[in-house]
């Protein structure tokens, strides 16, 4: 049992050697990326200066702090998750730098940009340290708190939001709906794990238990109404995929999944019929060449960029993302495709898959229902978000306006994604033996 629970930090240091090795490889890859971007950005009037190294200089110690802290607290959880996140967020920094994010003139703007990554990694670490050793189970204590927070976040968006490009964004640099993904998953996991038996008791195996479902249905209705009101297609899809999935896996009733499918198709129909915003996006998706210079311009410029990237890509910094409107947030994957080629896209997707596979593996191994649903929900949210973003940029599905986790520009998106990973890491640390046993006996 010493391997599972290292007694000294020296043992922990040895146990986490693979993580250290992999992280160095990440640092090397990101450094090569920076060299390439420097080479592409160097021009007659602009020399590469010491301050250009700052993003890289913040990346390396951030990883070091995370690794050393995990060693110091004798963290027993996953090592691979840390590496996948380190690589993907490293690519994110490269993309932000490449797309000119680190060029603020004001000091506060610069601090906000440069501090975002270390702060995000710090938050991830704090979440892990705070929730590890089974402490994440306290999150399940007040499910209604999380429901209130979820609705509050959305309500705040409705009150302070500003309309831009057909959807609502909150004032300032925070996008509350990013954190909604976290609070909602915690609420659902807590609610379902506490009432699993009641929710699983379908009458004659065909009729869902209406009374047990009522509170959940109430929250769901208000949530969906607010999301449709704000025309947030992406969040709507995420909610309606995660909810039935968690219900099905929490109760073993496949009927929930079928209900979810019905809700998604119904919601899509409503969106198409009553919201011009949704209909326009569907049109731009189905007939991109009907209005190439208008509604489909961004999509087609993204695809053009990827086409000119070909199999091997133009090289980091050598593409022309300036032709793709708002490339830095929603369409960052098109820039990846242009500069790293199809081969590079496959590699990036593989690291995403590694992350998701690991997330699901953690969920499958959890004994406690809450932990299992939490891990499952968090991973599903990240996966669906990634799928909707990449699928939208490659024109497989309509655009939903979701960001690409870890890579897209946007502080809220990065923070929320890193917090989700922090929770996954904490769950992978397992539960203390003795307490876990008493809990199970009670249950």
């Amino acid at each position: 049992m010493t391997a599972a629970n290292p007694a000294s930090w020296r043992e922990s240091w040895t146990a986490r050697a693979p993580e250290r090795h992999w992280l160095w490889l990440c640092v090397f890859a990101v450094s090569v990326g920076f060299l390439l971007i420097f080479g592409a950005q160097r021009s007659v009037e602009r020399l590469i200066e010491a301050r250009d190294l700052l993003p890289l200089a913040l990346y390396v110690p951030s990883l070091m702090v995370v690794h050393l802290s995990l060693v110091a607290v004798r963290f027993r959880g996953d090592q691979l998750l840390v590496v996948a996140v380190a690589l993907l967020s490293g690519l994110g920094i490269l993309m932000h730098y490449r797309l000119g994010a680190f060029g603020a003139d004001t000091l506060t703007g610069a601090i906000r940009q440069y501090a975002l990554y270390p702060a995000g990694m710090g938050v991830m670490l704090l979440v892990t340290l705070g929730a590890m050793r089974g402490r994440y189970r306290h999150l399940a204590s007040w499910p209604w708190l999380w429901a209130l927070i979820s609705l509050g976040l959305l309500a705040a968006l409705v009150v302070t939001g500003q309309r831009y490009r057909g959807a609502i964004y909150a004032a300032g640099f925070l996008t509350p709906s990013e954190f909604l993904k976290l609070s909602l998953v915690i609420y659902l996991a807590a609610f379902i794990s506490a009432r699993a038996a009641a929710l699983g008791a379908w009458r004659h195996g065909v009729l869902p238990p209406v009374r047990a479902l009522l509170p959940l249905a109430g929250v769901w209705l208000v949530l969906c109404a607010l999301l449709l009101w704000q025309r947030d297609l992406g969040m709507f899809a995420i909610v309606n995929l995660v909810l039935p999935l968690l219900l099905t896996l929490g109760t073993g009733r496949i009927g929930y999944l079928l209900l979810g499918l019905a809700a998604v198709s119904g919601g899509t129909l409503v969106l198409l019929r009553f919201f011009s915003h949704g209909a326009r996006r569907i049109d731009a998706w189905l007939n991109p060449f009907a209005d190439p210079t208008g509604a489909s311009w961004q999509l087609l410029q993204g695809l053009s960029g990827m086409y000119s990237g070909g199999l091997w890509g133009q090289g980091f910094g050598a593409g022309n993302p300036e032709y793709i409107p708002i490339a830095a947030s929603d369409f960052v994957y098109a820039v990846v495709g242009e500069e790293l080629g199809f081969f590079g896209s496959v590699l990036v997707v593989m690291f995403f898959l590694l992350l998701f596979q690991r997330g699901f593996a953690i969920a499958l191994r959890c004994r406690g229902l809450f932990a299992r649903l939490l891990a499952l929900g968090l991973t599903t949210v990240l996966m669906v978000q990634t799928f909707l973003n990449i699928g939208g940029v490659t024109k497989l599905i309509p655009l939903t306006g979701l960001t690409l986790p870890f890579i897209s520009q946007g502080g809220s998106s990065l923070l929320a994604s890193l917090m989700a990973v922090g929770l996954l890491l904490a769950i992978s640390d397992g539960e203390p033996k003795s307490r876990g046993r008493t809990k199970r006996r009670k249950g």
Binding site: N5, L25, G39, I48, A290, G310, G315, F360, L396, S428
Partner: protein, 537 residues
């Protein structure tokens, strides 16, 4: 030594492109190596703190779902990123709107554009590793064929037939096999050729005949709308586009396709429209035409005939036409007759006539998702009920009535085609399409006879000859800018009944002077050329 300074000099050195390529490869190798090490050390990084799963079903399902969804996304991405050339719409979009210099779409060999005899009017050739679009005839076809340029976009048929010229989606198994070979061998695809109805030789002669003057020539087959000539001058050289061409306020308006888009007062050629309406209304005269002219009120100047002024210039008094029939009035192009006729027919009939003759339309000659080559028809603002003089002016093609050369050619062709207007077409494979019946066959034949008399004994008798029986109508359109515009519209031969062996023509020379002395001989020469080229019997 300062490493940053060294790095800056290294970037400037000629070795950098090679080094950059090496670093690009190193980045990929690095990521691959990381994946390999992740696999190698997987045992050491097991989830030790969590119990082993009881069954492998869940893990298998996860792999299946993840592999399926994201594998699908990547496969679809490859269908754009690696196989984009199978999507002609996409290639056309990139060639028109993508400014990325190294986009392979700019290196695709587009199909050729050829006239109905197969003479090549536009083709692509690789020069210095870059495909260039070449136009052997330069300005003569500039407005019809247009241009395709990464900086300036696409215009004309190069724009509207863009997808066709770039190739198309494989239709059968063989086409798919060819495509597969191209993907493997990395050969750029070739587009499809486009065959036009135009006659290159005739078009060259028409452009040369305009001889630097601004103007337009439209020649088409009345029976099926096949355009033989669509010339507009002054033009630009599509081989040498420059930004100056696209700046606003080009005094010569070289980008304007005068044949399709230019609007001019039609002058006496408009009398054809009024004559057709007079036939329909049964008001064929005779009308008494006073030599001193006609007006609707003493407040307005008299509308007079050309002969009045020429007689006065030579110090004589003109005795006038006296009583004229419609046929005679058209032959002599009598302004007084048609001004009176227009007022007799009245405002309502006049407005209805304009609508029947397709005024105020935009007719696409070739259309695709990437744009269309469109002709505009004439326009005439509604004349107020009380404005009799305006109606009289409009009836002789002056005042605020404006028409495009293509519209007049269309009307002339309809008269030659026994009243049925057929949509003009440029692409040989487009099917003929009836637009509208402008008049009954009986009235059309009567009008054909009247137009023949214009040449045998009327204003256009200067171009009468034995080799070819031409029928037509001259026009001399006063305008505010200076000398009058010179018009001639007509068709030949007028002594046969077979529309497929006939050609209709409209010639406009901006500020060319009299229609009978400038536009009419030009039209006659072109029709004779067409006969020599075997397009007319």
């Amino acid at each position: 030594m300062n490493p940053l300074a060294t790095f800056n000099t290294l970037i400037d050195s000629p070795a950098w492109p090679t080094l950059q390529l090496g670093l690009h490869g190193l980045f990929f190798i690095n990521l691959l190596y990381l994946l390999k090490r992740l696999f190698d050390l997987r045992a050491a990084a097991k989830l030790k703190a969590l119990p082993k799963p009881k069954s492998l079903v869940g893990g298998g399902l996860v792999l299946l779902v993840l592999g399926g969804t994201f594998g699908g996304v990547l496969a679809y991405q490859a269908s754009w990123q690696l196989m984009g050339m199978t999507r002609p719409d996409f290639i056309a979009f990139m060639q028109t709107y993508d400014r990325r210099q190294f986009n392979p779409a700019h290196r695709i060999a587009r199909g050729r554009i050829a006239d109905h005899r197969g003479q090549v009017l536009a083709y692509s050739e690789e020069r210095d590793g870059r495909v260039q679009r070449l136009y052997p005839d330069g300005p003569a076809f500039a407005h019809v064929i247009g241009y395709q340029d990464p900086t300036f976009g696409a215009a004309g048929l190069e724009g509207s037939a863009n997808a066709h010229l770039n190739g198309s989606t494989p239709a059968d198994l063989r086409a798919w096999r060819d495509l597969g070979q191209r993907v493997v061998t990395q050969r750029e695809p070739r587009g499809q050729d486009l065959v036009l109805t135009l006659d290159a030789e005739l078009q060259r002669q028409a452009f040369a005949a305009l001889d630097g003057r601004a103007g337009a020539v439209v020649m088409l087959r009345p029976g099926d709308g096949a355009l033989r000539v669509l010339a507009s001058a002054p033009a630009f050289d599509p081989n040498q586009l420059s930004a100056g061409l696209f700046q606003r306020g080009d005094p010569e308006a070289r980008l304007l396709n005068r044949a399709l888009q230019g609007r001019y007062p039609p002058g006496s050629t408009f009398k054809l429209v009024l004559a057709a309406e007079a036939l329909a209304a049964g008001q064929t005269g005779p009308l008494v035409c006073a030599p001193e002219g006609f007006t609707t009120s003493a407040r307005y100047p008299l509308i007079r005939d050309h002969d009045y002024y020429s007689a006065r210039r030579s110090g004589m008094t003109w005795r006038g036409h006296g009583s004229l029939s419609l046929s005679r009035a058209l032959a002599e192009s009598c302004n007084v007759f048609f001004a009176k006729l227009g007022v007799q027919l009245g405002h309502e009939r006049f407005a209805a006539t304009l609508n029947d003759f397709l005024f105020g339309r935009r007719i696409p000659l070739h259309r695709s998702a990437h744009g269309s080559l469109t002709m505009v028809t004439g326009e005439a603002p509604r004349i107020a009920k009380t404005d009799q003089y305006g109606l009289a002016q409009a009836s002789i093609g002056q005042g605020r009535v404006l028409m495009s050369p293509a519209h007049l050619a269309l009307i002339t062709a309809a008269i030659a085609n026994d009243g049925l207007a057929v949509k003009p077409r440029l692409v040989a494979s487009d099917q003929p399409e009836a637009l509208a019946r402008l008049m009954t066959a009986t009235h059309a034949r009567q009008l054909q006879g009247m137009m023949r008399r214009v040449v045998t004994e009327g204003t256009a008798r200067g171009i009468a000859m034995a080799e070819l029986a031409i029928a037509g109508k001259t026009g001399t359109a006063q305008n505010a800018d200076g000398a009058p515009h010179s018009w001639f519209v007509g068709f030949a031969p007028a002594d046969r009944r077979a529309p497929e062996q006939t050609l209709a023509i409209a010639v406009l020379v901006e500020q060319g002077g009299y229609g009978s002395t400038v536009a009419a001989p030009l039209a006659r020469d072109l029709l004779l050329q067409a006969q020599q080229l075997g397009l007319l019997p």
